[in-house]
Protein backbone atom coordinates (compact mmCIF):
# COMPACT_ATOMS: atom_id res chain seq x y z
CA UNK A 1 0.00 0.00 0.00
CA UNK A 2 2.85 2.30 0.85
CA UNK A 3 4.48 1.84 -2.55
CA UNK A 4 1.08 2.41 -4.14
CA UNK A 5 0.87 5.89 -2.61
CA UNK A 6 4.51 6.50 -3.40
CA UNK A 7 3.77 5.92 -7.09
CA UNK A 8 1.20 8.72 -7.15
CA UNK A 9 3.14 11.12 -4.94
CA UNK A 10 6.12 10.54 -7.28
CA UNK A 11 4.02 11.61 -10.24
CA UNK A 12 2.72 14.75 -8.56
CA UNK A 13 6.03 15.84 -7.04
CA UNK A 14 7.69 15.14 -10.39
CA UNK A 15 5.19 17.26 -12.30
CA UNK A 16 5.46 20.00 -9.69
CA UNK A 17 9.26 20.17 -9.88
CA UNK A 18 9.12 20.18 -13.69
CA UNK A 19 6.69 23.11 -13.57
CA UNK A 20 8.99 24.99 -11.18
CA UNK A 21 11.84 24.54 -13.66
CA UNK A 22 9.69 25.68 -16.55
CA UNK A 23 8.56 28.76 -14.65
CA UNK A 24 12.20 29.78 -14.16
CA UNK A 25 13.07 29.55 -17.86
CA UNK A 26 9.70 31.04 -18.75
CA UNK A 27 10.45 34.09 -16.61
CA UNK A 28 13.80 34.50 -18.34
CA UNK A 29 12.16 34.17 -21.75
CA UNK A 30 9.59 36.86 -21.08
CA UNK A 31 12.08 39.30 -19.56
CA UNK A 32 14.50 39.92 -22.46
CA UNK A 33 16.15 42.78 -20.57
CA UNK A 34 17.88 40.32 -18.26
CA UNK A 35 20.61 39.58 -20.83
CA UNK A 36 23.78 38.71 -18.94
CA UNK A 37 26.22 38.33 -21.84
CA UNK A 38 28.56 41.16 -22.88
CA UNK A 39 27.79 42.69 -26.28
CA UNK A 40 31.50 42.83 -26.97
CA UNK A 41 32.32 44.81 -30.11
CA UNK A 42 29.53 47.31 -29.41
CA UNK A 43 30.44 47.97 -25.79
CA UNK A 44 34.19 48.13 -26.40
CA UNK A 45 34.36 51.69 -25.08
CA UNK A 46 32.64 50.93 -21.80
CA UNK A 47 33.80 47.35 -21.31
CA UNK A 48 35.26 46.84 -17.83
CA UNK A 49 36.99 43.53 -17.24
CA UNK A 50 37.04 41.92 -13.83
CA UNK A 51 39.91 42.17 -11.32
CA UNK A 52 40.66 38.48 -11.54
CA UNK A 53 40.76 38.49 -15.35
CA UNK A 54 44.08 37.19 -16.72
CA UNK A 55 44.71 39.23 -19.84
CA UNK A 56 48.51 39.42 -20.01
CA UNK A 57 51.49 39.70 -17.65
CA UNK A 58 52.46 43.27 -16.85
CA UNK A 59 55.02 44.88 -14.58
CA UNK A 60 53.37 47.81 -12.79
CA UNK A 61 55.39 51.01 -12.69
CA UNK A 62 54.66 53.91 -10.39
CA UNK A 63 54.64 57.61 -11.24
CA UNK A 64 58.42 57.92 -10.90
CA UNK A 65 58.89 55.12 -13.46
CA UNK A 66 59.95 52.72 -10.74
CA UNK A 67 59.13 49.01 -10.62
CA UNK A 68 59.62 46.33 -7.95
CA UNK A 69 61.57 43.74 -9.96
CA UNK A 70 64.95 42.72 -8.49
CA UNK A 71 65.89 40.51 -11.42
CA UNK A 72 66.13 37.41 -9.23
CA UNK A 73 64.81 35.17 -12.03
CA UNK A 74 62.36 33.13 -9.94
CA UNK A 75 59.61 33.84 -12.46
CA UNK A 76 61.83 32.51 -15.25
CA UNK A 77 62.57 29.24 -13.44
CA UNK A 78 58.90 28.77 -12.54
CA UNK A 79 57.51 29.41 -16.01
CA UNK A 80 56.45 26.02 -17.47
CA UNK A 81 56.67 27.17 -21.10
CA UNK A 82 59.79 29.27 -20.94
CA UNK A 83 57.90 32.38 -21.94
CA UNK A 84 59.87 34.62 -19.56
CA UNK A 85 63.52 35.56 -19.95
CA UNK A 86 65.18 37.71 -17.28
CA UNK A 87 68.39 39.39 -18.36
CA UNK A 88 70.12 40.94 -15.34
CA UNK A 89 73.04 43.28 -15.26
CA UNK A 90 75.41 44.50 -12.51
CA UNK A 91 75.90 48.11 -11.55
CA UNK A 92 77.83 49.91 -8.89
CA UNK A 93 75.71 51.03 -5.99
CA UNK A 94 76.34 54.41 -4.29
CA UNK A 95 78.00 52.49 -1.47
CA UNK A 96 80.53 51.06 -3.90
CA UNK A 97 79.12 47.54 -4.03
CA UNK A 98 78.29 45.58 -7.20
CA UNK A 99 74.53 44.88 -7.17
CA UNK A 100 72.37 42.87 -9.54
CA UNK A 101 69.53 44.75 -11.21
CA UNK A 102 67.31 43.96 -14.17
CA UNK A 103 68.30 44.88 -17.66
CA UNK A 104 65.47 43.36 -19.64
CA UNK A 105 62.43 41.37 -18.54
CA UNK A 106 61.38 39.66 -21.77
CA UNK A 107 57.87 38.21 -21.97
CA UNK A 108 56.79 35.99 -24.88
CA UNK A 109 53.01 36.42 -24.98
CA UNK A 110 52.80 33.88 -27.81
CA UNK A 111 53.99 31.09 -25.51
CA UNK A 112 52.14 32.11 -22.35
CA UNK A 113 49.26 29.97 -21.05
CA UNK A 114 48.28 32.46 -18.33
CA UNK A 115 48.82 29.91 -15.57
CA UNK A 116 49.88 32.68 -13.20
CA UNK A 117 52.82 30.87 -11.61
CA UNK A 118 55.14 33.83 -12.21
CA UNK A 119 52.75 36.24 -10.52
CA UNK A 120 52.23 33.84 -7.63
CA UNK A 121 55.90 33.10 -6.97
CA UNK A 122 57.36 36.59 -7.38
CA UNK A 123 58.89 37.41 -3.95
CA UNK A 124 58.60 41.16 -4.41
CA UNK A 125 55.16 41.31 -6.16
CA UNK A 126 56.68 42.87 -9.25
CA UNK A 127 54.38 41.11 -11.74
CA UNK A 128 50.62 41.33 -12.15
CA UNK A 129 47.89 40.44 -14.60
CA UNK A 130 46.75 43.17 -16.96
CA UNK A 131 43.22 43.63 -18.30
CA UNK A 132 44.14 44.00 -21.97
CA UNK A 133 42.93 41.07 -24.10
CA UNK A 134 42.93 42.24 -27.71
CA UNK A 135 46.29 40.68 -28.54
CA UNK A 136 45.85 39.98 -32.25
CA UNK A 137 48.75 41.34 -34.32
CA UNK A 138 49.98 40.79 -37.87
CA UNK A 139 53.57 40.12 -36.89
CA UNK A 140 54.63 37.40 -34.48
CA UNK A 141 57.58 39.46 -33.30
CA UNK A 142 55.19 41.99 -31.76
CA UNK A 143 54.12 39.37 -29.24
CA UNK A 144 57.52 39.47 -27.58
CA UNK A 145 57.42 42.29 -25.06
CA UNK A 146 59.89 43.89 -22.72
CA UNK A 147 58.06 44.48 -19.48
CA UNK A 148 60.34 46.95 -17.74
CA UNK A 149 59.96 50.39 -19.24
CA UNK A 150 63.03 52.12 -20.68
CA UNK A 151 64.84 54.20 -18.11
CA UNK A 152 63.00 52.62 -15.21
CA UNK A 153 64.69 51.82 -11.95
CA UNK A 154 63.93 49.68 -8.96
CA UNK A 155 61.86 51.08 -6.13
CA UNK A 156 63.95 51.83 -3.04
CA UNK A 157 63.68 49.32 -0.24
CA UNK A 158 62.87 46.28 -2.33
CA UNK A 159 66.35 44.80 -2.49
Amino acid sequence: MNSFFKYFTDIFTGVKSLLVGMSVTGKYFFSPRAIVTQQYPENRKTLKMYDRFKGEIIMPHDANNQHRCTGCGICETNCPNGSIEVIPTRIDSPEGKKIRIIDKHIYHLSMCTFCGLCVKTCPSDALAFGQEFEHAVFDRAKLTKILNQPGSSILKGIE
Binding site: G26, F29, T37
Partner: protein, 362 residues
Protein backbone atom coordinates in the same frame (compact mmCIF):
# COMPACT_ATOMS: atom_id res chain seq x y z
CA UNK B 1 -11.75 30.17 -60.35
CA UNK B 2 -13.00 31.26 -56.96
CA UNK B 3 -10.06 31.87 -54.68
CA UNK B 4 -10.84 32.28 -51.02
CA UNK B 5 -8.49 32.33 -48.07
CA UNK B 6 -11.16 30.62 -45.96
CA UNK B 7 -11.87 27.61 -48.17
CA UNK B 8 -9.39 26.20 -50.66
CA UNK B 9 -11.65 23.40 -51.91
CA UNK B 10 -13.06 25.15 -54.98
CA UNK B 11 -9.65 26.63 -55.86
CA UNK B 12 -8.01 23.20 -55.80
CA UNK B 13 -10.85 21.63 -57.75
CA UNK B 14 -10.55 24.35 -60.41
CA UNK B 15 -6.83 23.64 -60.86
CA UNK B 16 -7.55 19.91 -60.94
CA UNK B 17 -10.25 20.33 -63.59
CA UNK B 18 -8.08 22.65 -65.68
CA UNK B 19 -5.16 20.16 -65.66
CA UNK B 20 -7.38 17.21 -66.57
CA UNK B 21 -8.97 19.20 -69.42
CA UNK B 22 -5.55 20.16 -70.71
CA UNK B 23 -3.64 16.87 -70.39
CA UNK B 24 -4.35 13.14 -70.61
CA UNK B 25 -5.31 11.74 -67.15
CA UNK B 26 -2.01 9.97 -66.43
CA UNK B 27 0.05 13.04 -67.31
CA UNK B 28 -2.27 15.30 -65.33
CA UNK B 29 -1.85 13.08 -62.27
CA UNK B 30 1.96 13.19 -62.62
CA UNK B 31 1.89 16.98 -63.00
CA UNK B 32 -0.28 17.32 -59.92
CA UNK B 33 1.97 15.08 -57.87
CA UNK B 34 5.08 16.97 -59.01
CA UNK B 35 3.44 20.31 -58.18
CA UNK B 36 2.54 19.18 -54.66
CA UNK B 37 6.00 17.69 -54.16
CA UNK B 38 7.64 20.97 -55.21
CA UNK B 39 5.30 22.94 -52.94
CA UNK B 40 6.27 20.75 -50.00
CA UNK B 41 9.98 21.10 -50.84
CA UNK B 42 9.70 24.89 -50.77
CA UNK B 43 7.62 24.67 -47.59
CA UNK B 44 10.28 22.44 -46.01
CA UNK B 45 13.08 24.84 -46.85
CA UNK B 46 11.21 27.87 -45.47
CA UNK B 47 9.90 26.18 -42.33
CA UNK B 48 13.22 24.44 -41.65
CA UNK B 49 15.22 27.65 -41.91
CA UNK B 50 12.71 29.51 -39.78
CA UNK B 51 12.56 26.81 -37.09
CA UNK B 52 16.33 26.66 -36.69
CA UNK B 53 16.41 30.43 -36.26
CA UNK B 54 13.46 30.35 -33.84
CA UNK B 55 15.04 27.59 -31.79
CA UNK B 56 18.31 29.46 -31.45
CA UNK B 57 16.53 32.66 -30.44
CA UNK B 58 14.19 30.94 -27.96
CA UNK B 59 17.03 29.02 -26.33
CA UNK B 60 19.11 32.20 -26.15
CA UNK B 61 16.37 34.16 -24.39
CA UNK B 62 15.77 31.33 -21.95
CA UNK B 63 19.47 31.37 -21.06
CA UNK B 64 19.60 35.18 -20.81
CA UNK B 65 21.61 35.51 -24.01
CA UNK B 66 20.92 37.42 -27.22
CA UNK B 67 21.34 34.62 -29.75
CA UNK B 68 22.28 35.13 -33.41
CA UNK B 69 22.44 38.88 -34.05
CA UNK B 70 25.14 39.43 -36.67
CA UNK B 71 23.80 38.40 -40.09
CA UNK B 72 21.04 40.83 -40.99
CA UNK B 73 18.77 42.64 -38.54
CA UNK B 74 18.38 40.50 -35.38
CA UNK B 75 20.35 37.80 -37.18
CA UNK B 76 17.42 36.68 -39.35
CA UNK B 77 19.73 35.62 -42.20
CA UNK B 78 21.94 33.51 -39.94
CA UNK B 79 20.30 30.21 -40.88
CA UNK B 80 20.51 31.04 -44.60
CA UNK B 81 24.23 31.65 -44.19
CA UNK B 82 24.54 28.35 -42.29
CA UNK B 83 22.65 26.58 -45.04
CA UNK B 84 24.98 27.95 -47.74
CA UNK B 85 27.94 26.84 -45.64
CA UNK B 86 26.48 23.33 -45.32
CA UNK B 87 25.93 23.12 -49.08
CA UNK B 88 29.57 23.92 -49.76
CA UNK B 89 30.99 21.41 -47.27
CA UNK B 90 32.80 18.34 -48.50
CA UNK B 91 30.90 15.06 -48.39
CA UNK B 92 33.33 12.87 -46.51
CA UNK B 93 33.18 9.18 -47.38
CA UNK B 94 34.04 6.99 -44.41
CA UNK B 95 36.47 4.14 -45.03
CA UNK B 96 35.07 0.66 -44.24
CA UNK B 97 31.54 2.03 -43.99
CA UNK B 98 28.63 0.41 -45.78
CA UNK B 99 28.48 2.81 -48.73
CA UNK B 100 24.95 2.04 -49.90
CA UNK B 101 23.28 2.21 -46.49
CA UNK B 102 25.38 5.18 -45.47
CA UNK B 103 24.12 7.16 -48.43
CA UNK B 104 20.58 5.84 -48.18
CA UNK B 105 19.97 6.66 -44.50
CA UNK B 106 19.46 10.45 -44.76
CA UNK B 107 16.97 9.96 -47.58
CA UNK B 108 14.92 7.46 -45.55
CA UNK B 109 14.74 9.91 -42.67
CA UNK B 110 13.63 12.80 -44.83
CA UNK B 111 11.21 10.71 -46.93
CA UNK B 112 9.52 9.48 -43.75
CA UNK B 113 8.88 13.05 -42.68
CA UNK B 114 7.66 13.95 -46.20
CA UNK B 115 5.16 11.10 -46.06
CA UNK B 116 3.89 12.24 -42.68
CA UNK B 117 3.36 15.86 -43.68
CA UNK B 118 1.21 14.82 -46.67
CA UNK B 119 -1.69 13.89 -44.39
CA UNK B 120 -1.82 17.15 -42.44
CA UNK B 121 -4.64 19.62 -43.15
CA UNK B 122 -3.35 23.21 -43.31
CA UNK B 123 -6.72 24.81 -43.96
CA UNK B 124 -10.10 23.79 -45.29
CA UNK B 125 -9.34 21.97 -48.54
CA UNK B 126 -5.59 22.63 -48.25
CA UNK B 127 -4.64 19.03 -47.78
CA UNK B 128 -2.32 16.88 -49.89
CA UNK B 129 -4.21 13.65 -49.23
CA UNK B 130 -7.17 13.04 -46.91
CA UNK B 131 -7.09 9.38 -45.87
CA UNK B 132 -9.99 7.73 -44.07
CA UNK B 133 -7.43 6.54 -41.53
CA UNK B 134 -5.25 9.65 -41.56
CA UNK B 135 -4.19 9.46 -37.90
CA UNK B 136 -3.25 5.80 -38.19
CA UNK B 137 -1.29 6.57 -41.37
CA UNK B 138 0.64 9.34 -39.63
CA UNK B 139 1.50 7.10 -36.67
CA UNK B 140 2.69 4.44 -39.09
CA UNK B 141 4.91 6.59 -41.33
CA UNK B 142 6.30 8.83 -38.61
CA UNK B 143 7.95 5.79 -37.03
CA UNK B 144 9.67 4.92 -40.33
CA UNK B 145 12.25 7.59 -39.65
CA UNK B 146 13.89 5.38 -37.03
CA UNK B 147 14.85 2.94 -39.79
CA UNK B 148 16.98 5.69 -41.29
CA UNK B 149 18.49 6.49 -37.90
CA UNK B 150 19.34 2.81 -37.29
CA UNK B 151 20.86 2.47 -40.76
CA UNK B 152 22.91 5.60 -40.27
CA UNK B 153 24.27 4.31 -36.99
CA UNK B 154 24.97 0.84 -38.28
CA UNK B 155 26.62 1.80 -41.56
CA UNK B 156 28.88 4.51 -40.12
CA UNK B 157 31.34 1.98 -38.66
CA UNK B 158 31.61 4.10 -35.55
CA UNK B 159 30.86 3.11 -31.97
CA UNK B 160 29.25 6.43 -31.07
CA UNK B 161 26.93 6.20 -34.05
CA UNK B 162 25.98 2.63 -33.23
CA UNK B 163 25.26 3.35 -29.57
CA UNK B 164 23.23 6.41 -30.55
CA UNK B 165 21.22 4.45 -33.08
CA UNK B 166 20.50 1.61 -30.66
CA UNK B 167 19.32 4.07 -28.02
CA UNK B 168 17.13 5.72 -30.59
CA UNK B 169 15.64 2.36 -31.52
CA UNK B 170 14.82 1.47 -27.89
CA UNK B 171 13.38 4.92 -27.36
CA UNK B 172 11.12 5.01 -30.39
CA UNK B 173 9.84 1.45 -29.94
CA UNK B 174 8.66 2.32 -26.44
CA UNK B 175 7.36 5.84 -27.00
CA UNK B 176 5.49 4.88 -30.15
CA UNK B 177 3.01 3.16 -27.82
CA UNK B 178 2.24 6.29 -25.85
CA UNK B 179 1.84 8.38 -28.98
CA UNK B 180 -0.60 5.86 -30.40
CA UNK B 181 -2.61 5.48 -27.21
CA UNK B 182 -2.89 9.20 -26.54
CA UNK B 183 -4.14 9.76 -30.08
CA UNK B 184 -6.51 6.81 -29.61
CA UNK B 185 -8.04 8.64 -26.65
CA UNK B 186 -9.05 11.43 -28.99
CA UNK B 187 -10.14 9.02 -31.71
CA UNK B 188 -12.58 7.57 -29.17
CA UNK B 189 -13.93 11.08 -28.59
CA UNK B 190 -13.94 12.10 -32.27
CA UNK B 191 -15.30 8.83 -33.58
CA UNK B 192 -13.19 9.09 -36.74
CA UNK B 193 -9.58 8.80 -37.91
CA UNK B 194 -9.98 11.12 -40.88
CA UNK B 195 -8.15 14.40 -40.29
CA UNK B 196 -10.74 16.55 -42.06
CA UNK B 197 -13.52 14.96 -39.96
CA UNK B 198 -11.47 15.37 -36.77
CA UNK B 199 -11.13 19.08 -37.49
CA UNK B 200 -14.80 19.44 -38.41
CA UNK B 201 -15.73 17.75 -35.15
CA UNK B 202 -14.08 20.62 -33.27
CA UNK B 203 -16.28 23.32 -34.78
CA UNK B 204 -18.15 23.78 -31.49
CA UNK B 205 -15.14 23.54 -29.18
CA UNK B 206 -11.68 22.04 -29.36
CA UNK B 207 -11.24 18.46 -28.20
CA UNK B 208 -8.95 19.50 -25.37
CA UNK B 209 -11.95 21.39 -23.88
CA UNK B 210 -14.65 18.97 -25.00
CA UNK B 211 -12.97 15.92 -23.48
CA UNK B 212 -12.46 17.40 -19.98
CA UNK B 213 -9.50 16.11 -17.97
CA UNK B 214 -8.79 12.91 -19.98
CA UNK B 215 -8.24 14.96 -23.14
CA UNK B 216 -5.85 17.26 -21.28
CA UNK B 217 -3.91 14.30 -19.86
CA UNK B 218 -3.77 12.79 -23.34
CA UNK B 219 -2.41 16.13 -24.66
CA UNK B 220 0.36 16.20 -22.05
CA UNK B 221 1.24 12.55 -22.66
CA UNK B 222 1.26 13.16 -26.42
CA UNK B 223 3.59 16.13 -25.98
CA UNK B 224 6.04 14.09 -23.88
CA UNK B 225 5.92 11.00 -26.07
CA UNK B 226 6.16 12.89 -29.36
CA UNK B 227 9.12 14.91 -28.09
CA UNK B 228 10.77 11.59 -27.33
CA UNK B 229 9.80 10.24 -30.72
CA UNK B 230 11.44 13.11 -32.56
CA UNK B 231 14.68 12.58 -30.58
CA UNK B 232 14.59 16.06 -29.15
CA UNK B 233 15.81 17.16 -25.77
CA UNK B 234 15.32 16.20 -22.94
CA UNK B 235 15.07 12.86 -24.76
CA UNK B 236 17.97 13.41 -27.19
CA UNK B 237 19.88 10.34 -26.03
CA UNK B 238 20.42 9.34 -29.63
CA UNK B 239 22.69 12.31 -30.24
CA UNK B 240 23.66 13.23 -26.66
CA UNK B 241 26.48 15.65 -27.56
CA UNK B 242 28.32 15.30 -24.28
CA UNK B 243 28.41 11.50 -24.40
CA UNK B 244 28.32 10.46 -28.05
CA UNK B 245 29.72 13.50 -29.94
CA UNK B 246 26.72 13.62 -32.27
CA UNK B 247 25.24 10.13 -32.00
CA UNK B 248 23.99 8.56 -35.18
CA UNK B 249 25.03 11.45 -37.45
CA UNK B 250 28.59 11.75 -36.16
CA UNK B 251 30.10 10.70 -39.49
CA UNK B 252 27.85 12.76 -41.76
CA UNK B 253 28.89 16.04 -43.28
CA UNK B 254 27.59 18.62 -45.69
CA UNK B 255 24.19 18.17 -47.26
CA UNK B 256 23.68 14.69 -45.81
CA UNK B 257 24.05 16.13 -42.32
CA UNK B 258 21.69 18.91 -43.36
CA UNK B 259 19.11 16.27 -44.26
CA UNK B 260 19.22 14.81 -40.75
CA UNK B 261 19.10 18.29 -39.28
CA UNK B 262 16.16 19.33 -41.45
CA UNK B 263 14.32 16.07 -40.75
CA UNK B 264 14.68 16.62 -37.01
CA UNK B 265 13.13 20.07 -37.23
CA UNK B 266 10.44 18.99 -39.67
CA UNK B 267 9.51 16.06 -37.44
CA UNK B 268 9.10 18.55 -34.64
CA UNK B 269 6.86 20.63 -36.91
CA UNK B 270 4.85 17.55 -37.90
CA UNK B 271 4.20 16.31 -34.36
CA UNK B 272 3.37 19.87 -33.31
CA UNK B 273 0.86 20.18 -36.13
CA UNK B 274 -0.66 16.79 -35.26
CA UNK B 275 -1.00 17.95 -31.66
CA UNK B 276 -2.54 21.20 -32.88
CA UNK B 277 -4.90 19.40 -35.26
CA UNK B 278 -6.06 16.64 -32.95
CA UNK B 279 -6.20 18.47 -29.63
CA UNK B 280 -6.40 22.18 -30.43
CA UNK B 281 -8.67 22.13 -33.45
CA UNK B 282 -6.17 22.50 -36.31
CA UNK B 283 -7.27 25.30 -38.63
CA UNK B 284 -10.62 25.54 -36.85
CA UNK B 285 -11.05 28.96 -35.19
CA UNK B 286 -11.72 29.19 -31.47
CA UNK B 287 -15.42 28.57 -31.10
CA UNK B 288 -17.62 28.46 -28.02
CA UNK B 289 -20.86 26.59 -28.49
CA UNK B 290 -23.83 28.99 -28.54
CA UNK B 291 -21.93 32.30 -28.81
CA UNK B 292 -22.82 33.06 -32.42
CA UNK B 293 -21.44 36.63 -32.48
CA UNK B 294 -18.14 35.62 -30.91
CA UNK B 295 -17.80 32.65 -33.26
CA UNK B 296 -18.45 34.91 -36.23
CA UNK B 297 -15.62 37.27 -35.24
CA UNK B 298 -13.28 34.29 -34.78
CA UNK B 299 -14.28 32.96 -38.21
CA UNK B 300 -13.07 36.21 -39.73
CA UNK B 301 -9.43 35.30 -38.88
CA UNK B 302 -8.17 33.06 -41.74
CA UNK B 303 -7.70 29.36 -40.91
CA UNK B 304 -4.02 29.43 -41.96
CA UNK B 305 -3.35 31.90 -39.14
CA UNK B 306 -5.08 29.65 -36.66
CA UNK B 307 -3.18 26.61 -37.90
CA UNK B 308 0.26 28.23 -37.78
CA UNK B 309 -0.53 29.97 -34.51
CA UNK B 310 -1.45 26.74 -32.77
CA UNK B 311 1.45 24.82 -34.30
CA UNK B 312 3.79 27.60 -33.27
CA UNK B 313 2.42 27.44 -29.75
CA UNK B 314 3.06 23.70 -29.50
CA UNK B 315 6.54 24.11 -31.01
CA UNK B 316 7.26 26.78 -28.42
CA UNK B 317 6.16 24.38 -25.67
CA UNK B 318 8.53 21.73 -27.01
CA UNK B 319 11.42 24.21 -27.16
CA UNK B 320 10.58 25.25 -23.63
CA UNK B 321 10.93 21.63 -22.48
CA UNK B 322 14.15 21.18 -24.35
CA UNK B 323 15.88 24.21 -22.88
CA UNK B 324 14.63 23.64 -19.33
CA UNK B 325 15.07 19.97 -18.50
CA UNK B 326 18.28 17.96 -18.29
CA UNK B 327 18.69 14.90 -20.50
CA UNK B 328 17.28 11.61 -19.17
CA UNK B 329 19.40 8.52 -18.75
CA UNK B 330 18.33 5.49 -20.77
CA UNK B 331 16.93 3.69 -17.69
CA UNK B 332 15.04 6.81 -16.60
CA UNK B 333 13.70 7.13 -20.12
CA UNK B 334 12.35 3.59 -20.18
CA UNK B 335 11.05 3.92 -16.60
CA UNK B 336 9.11 7.03 -17.55
CA UNK B 337 7.46 5.26 -20.45
CA UNK B 338 6.72 1.80 -19.07
CA UNK B 339 6.05 2.67 -15.42
CA UNK B 340 4.29 6.01 -15.76
CA UNK B 341 3.10 7.08 -19.19
CA UNK B 342 1.74 3.73 -20.38
CA UNK B 343 -0.37 2.90 -17.27
CA UNK B 344 -1.66 6.48 -17.10
CA UNK B 345 -2.56 6.28 -20.77
CA UNK B 346 -4.40 2.98 -20.43
CA UNK B 347 -6.48 4.23 -17.49
CA UNK B 348 -7.02 7.51 -19.33
CA UNK B 349 -8.40 5.86 -22.45
CA UNK B 350 -10.77 3.81 -20.26
CA UNK B 351 -12.08 6.97 -18.57
CA UNK B 352 -12.48 8.65 -21.95
CA UNK B 353 -14.41 5.68 -23.33
CA UNK B 354 -16.68 5.81 -20.27
CA UNK B 355 -17.27 9.56 -20.68
CA UNK B 356 -18.11 9.12 -24.35
CA UNK B 357 -20.40 6.18 -23.52
CA UNK B 358 -22.31 8.20 -20.93
CA UNK B 359 -22.38 11.25 -23.19
CA UNK B 360 -20.74 13.52 -20.59
CA UNK B 361 -18.58 15.35 -23.12
CA UNK B 362 -19.79 18.60 -24.68
Amino acid sequence: MAFSIYDFTSFNQAIDKWLYDLLPPVLALIVEMTLIGLLFLVFYAIVGLFLVYAERKVCAFMQNRVGPNRVGPYGIFQTIADFIKLLMKELIMIRNSDKLLFNLAPFIVIIASFMAIAAIPFAKGLHAIDFDIGIMYVIAVSSLGVVGVLLAGWSSNNKYSLIGAMRSGAQIVSYELSVGLSLLTIIVLAGTMQFSQVVEGQANGWFIFKGHIPAFIAFVVFLIASTAETNRGPFDLAEAESELTAGFHTEYSGIKFAFFFLAEYMNMFIVASIAATVFLGGWMPFHVGGWAGFNHIMDWIPPLFWYFGKTGFVIFLMMWFKWTFPRLRIDQLLNLEWKYLLPINLVNILIMAFIVLMGWHF
